[in-house]
Amino acid sequence: MNSQLTSEILSLSWEHLQMVLITIAIAIAVALPGGILLARRARARRVALSIASIAQTIPSLALFGFLVPLPFIGGIGPHTAIIALCLYALLPILRNTLLGITGVDPGVRESAVAMGMTERQVLWQVELPLAVPSIVAGLRIATVATIGTATIAAAIGGGGLGVFIFRGISMVDTPTVLAGALPAALMAVVADEVLEWIERKLSPA
């Protein structure tokens, strides 16, 4: 393998990884507090979940296309791609945060309240610790999906491993497609394993 290709794979992988990490960081920052706030509000919860589910159904290539002409958030480049990726990453994290909190055994919650814990203590000492495995599971789904979807960022000048894939398609050259697809798949497998390990570590004993 020539060294120019190797270094291009490495630099595009790094671009790809950066895009994924920024996306996940933003998605966590929005979906985790959002999930905590929505856990107590049944009606708002349904509305938020259906909006997030609808966002999920928009084909990703179309969503990238929609965003490009928009002022401020749109345009060509990685930031537009990150906004689109965030929309996809939100739902699994939000849904799993909600499931984790609302799925706590009602008897456990009732005991916590009856023992004289404040709402805040119930949340931080009981509900959130018990929701952690579910939240990490959502994070895992979001991360693996984002790594795959981020290959489309190249279509709007976002860079990343998708550059190889689109180049390979236009040149009808399978090895070039694989130069993008294989590292992306590897990245997804590694992320999945690492997050699964974290999920196990954080599960309440």
């Binding site: 009732e110 009856a114 814990m117």
Partner: protein, 256 residues
């Protein structure tokens, strides 16, 4: 002179929507007494218990605890002065036995060594060897052991009143009997006041100072056990019929 009432329930009514759960219940619990709330499913006994620690708000009437209406208490302070034990114990699955039992003392900012001593004392009191059990998690306990931990947790901050909601309901009969006997021993040593919900008339007769029989949300009878055995209301008769073993065997013979 009778001991002062620790809990006074006056003309309590409670509705959810247009369903009446409790109607005009009045009940006084004196210090050191165990009052058992006996009734069928849906008789309102659990709701009555939950109005006492503010998990359910009464619609009409008043509850006085230690001479002060519960509505005037800060609900957090009120609940920390009442132990609470429920059917499946409701232990926190992510905490060890020690952390579960030490919860209220920890919320009350006791010193850690004082909490550790208290936990050790309580585990012994409920018949669990502290060295063996304190570091276990709830999933490593049997049903009976969980319930013992639940009782220890309720006793932790030495509350003047204990609330029990069918604590032994999900246990096998042998373990249940063991825990009932232990409950009696414990009551003689710690002299606690308790309100105890059950649908089991044997359990009620075994544990109570007085039985409060509830029917359709109203108080049918409030009697000491000997007098309850002689009671003649339809609901009391229905419950007492469950005690007649001979009746059961002749009926089962009739079925055969």
């Amino acid at each position: 002179m009778p001991p002062p009432p620790i809990l006074e329930i006056r003309n309590l009514s409670c509705r959810f929507g247009n369903r009446t759960i409790l109607r005009d219940v009045s009940l006084t619990v004196s210090e050191g007494e165990t009052v058992v709330l006996l009734g069928r499913s849906g008789s309102g006994k659990t709701t009555l218990l939950k109005t006492v620690n503010g998990l359910v708000q009464p619609c009409e009437g008043a509850i006085h605890f230690e001479g002060k209406p519960t509505t005037a208490w800060d609900p957090i302070r009120l609940r920390r002065r009442m132990g609470y034990v429920i059917q499946d114990a409701g232990l926190f699955p992510h905490w060890t036995v020690e952390a579960n039992v030490g919860l209220v003392p920890r919320l009350e900012n006791w010193a850690p060594d004082k909490i550790a001593q208290r936990v050790e004392f309580l585990l012994d009191a409920v018949g669990l060897a502290s060295a063996e059990f304190r570091h276990r998690y709830p999933r490593q306990l049997s049903g009976g052991q969980k319930q013992r931990v639940g009782i220890a947790r309720a006793l932790a901050a030495d509350p003047p009143l204990l609330l029990f909601d069918e604590p032994f309901g999900a246990l096998d009969p042998i373990t249940r009997f063991e825990l009932q006997r232990h409950f009696l021993e414990l009551r003689n040593t710690v002299r606690k006041t308790a309100l105890f919900v059950t649908h089991d008339v044997r359990e009620a007769l075994m544990l109570c100072s007085r039985i409060a029989l509830l029917k359709d949300g109203g108080l049918d009878l409030l009697l000491p056990p000997q007098e309850f055995l002689a009671a003649r209301t339809p609901e009391a008769t229905a419950f007492l019929a469950c005690l007649q073993d001979r009746g059961i065997s002749s009926e089962s013979e009739a079925i055969r």
